[in-house]
Amino acid sequence: MSAPNEERSVFLSGNEAIAWGARHAGVCLASAYPGTPSTEILETLATFPEIEAQWATNEKVACEVAFGACLAGKRALTACKHVGLNVAMDPLMTTAYSGINAGLVVVVADDPGMSSSQNEQDTRRVAPYGKVPLIEPSSPSEAYHFIQESFRISEKFDIPVLFRITTRISHTKESFVLTGQREIPVKPLDKNPRKYVMIPAHARPRHLDLEKRLAALKEYSEQTPLNRAEIKDRKTGFITSGVSACYVKEAYPDASILTCGMSFPLPIKKIGDFAKKVRKLYVVEELEPFLEEQLLQAGLAVTGKKPSWRCGELSPSAVRAIVRRQDRNDPLQKNRRPLLCAGCPHRPVFTALKKAGVYVAGDIGCYTLGALEPLAALHTQLCMGASIPVFEGIRKMTGDKKTVAVIGDSTFFHTGLSGLLSAAHNGTRGVVLILDNAITAMTGAQSNPGTGATLQGKPSRKISPEKLCVAAGADQVDVIDPYQMDAFYRLLQTRLAEDKLSVIIARSPCRMVERSRQSPYRIDEAACKRCGLCLKLDCPAIAKRDDGTVVIDQGLCVGCGLCRQVCKFQAINTKEGASGA
């Protein structure tokens, strides 16, 4: 079955190119949890009606749904950011043993430089550990072609393929021509317990088989055009992969270069032949010395980079510095500090938590910004879903009632729920706050089980966090609008004083979803004592002028009225009414 041949000029980001490539490769199902920089892969796939594209509650679930689809004989894809793959490692490790029925590709987006992440782990290391082949495109146009090849590799070698990109590929757009057509290889559901039930008796022969498949992949890596040598000047040669290949070509356009589109297993013979043709051989790669270590192990004389280059992104200038054996020495960039949006409902929550003087075990989301001055009311952040277990550990060891957990609705559905269950099971007391804006906000407003809509925006069952919390064993569950600052603060104090496991759900919509505005507020200069209380809210709409007066930007203010609530001198009002809305 195939659609008419498509050939058209496009301008696509790496993420969009992957979605188009997957479509032309005949992918029937794609499942993921949002995560910068990978989010737009699923958002683009969702625009193709013939593909079942979905947001799963977390990356492990997404990977398992995709595996199920591939067993059903349909090509499937899952996508995540680097730390998301940590969550999906359990299924990934064993699918390598089982193998696949129809092609299965796991797309993972690393974030060198941490534009929006908590670490810069190099996921390429997962490939040898998980015993799966690793494909790395260097540009959006390559991503489009390589993802299609990845499905063929997956099926040819009966193995899931790890497809690794980085932020700079995800978010770079390139002009190129789409040449593919949608082909759907149809297979029946594979009923084969010896292959898909990994009890020890089945897993032992599958492991042996996996070693054979890896040996075959090693041979394939020597032949595939994904690994391509370009011999030019014989004085200098480069071994590279991913976006680093583009940086090398920019900095040293005349040098010979071998770009590894398949960077595990590496084509050692091919690289050895290449090495013989050049006088001096460099390895250029972002993050870990992944290629370098494999080449040194193979006995090839290559020059790598100094350890300081394991941190951060590379660039054409970085490639020059690496070749000169210099250390990384970046000028400190003074980027503007990110802020919670004007009208963001997390702001009153952190204002109250700060006033209460509690220790806050936080989680991953926009509300992590509550850690920054002047709000400065969040004290830990580790990984998705860690808030409640970290809170439990602290609370059990200190016994201090002034310890709380703070987690967003999407993160709660992701991996927070199991932490709450465990806390209830182990008799933990104290307060858990769920900041419920009914959306996955940090990645740009994606739906989750509490939204009441799917990835495509179609209505779906809206899961109630309060019912879940009751079922998970919370003694007390309250739902409150955090903009009622006094009531919210009183409730917090009451629950902190009790000896129960209680959940406070602070419910108010995200400003990226709820765009309606109230009349903006103004500061009455005569009444203002310049005490700075409103400035401590860290609202992007409130600023102090050079002359010391405080003003509210009428374009940015959405009229949430939080500043009016904290002002002790009634100096903040709307244009219409002296006492405000």
């Binding site: 000029s9 301008f11 910068t36 534009s115 929006s116 540009s139 700079r168 978010h171 770079t172 757009k173 390139e174 002009s175 976006v243 583009c246 940086y247 070509k249 920019e250 900095a251 356009p253 660039s315 054409p316 200038s317 020059r320 000028p331 960039q333 003074k334 980027n335 503007r336 500090r337 990110p338 802020l339 919670l340 949006c341 926009c366 910004l369 740009g444 990226m512 992007p540 374009g555």
Partner: protein, 165 residues
Amino acid sequence: MPEDGTMTILFYGIGGQGVLSAAEICARAAIEDGYHVKKSEIKGMAQRGGSVEAYVRLGTKVHSPLPERGRVDLLACLYESEYERLRSELKKGGHDLFPYLKKARAVVGDKTIFLNTYILGIVSSLLPVRESSWITAMERTFKRNFEQNRQYFLQGREAGARNDL
């Protein structure tokens, strides 16, 4: 065009200013004229008022999404206090549009949503891309206010051509 055939424009400012749509239109206009284009942006926390930057590179075959340090041909800064952050990326003899920013603010007044289009007009006066390609690219990007955007674009284009600060 510089000798290696690739030209780099750096747009930067803060979240909400339309830095990314200006870069997008610039890229699409160049594609319309047959160039190979790569556009790379940093927008991690843009929605929350953070710094935003976008590189547009055009040529016959563009390799890297990023230029070498200090090799930007055209620097388009849209926000005063951000200027220093990346001004060293401009190459010697490159075009710095920062001196136009004051004039641009005066022209658009409180209609700050058109600041990006006006600056884009100045950019267009310095690039070897046909006017019709710019207009086509804008038409595809701005679904609303196209006519107003076109006016501000043409004003900027004229100011750029006359070197009118």
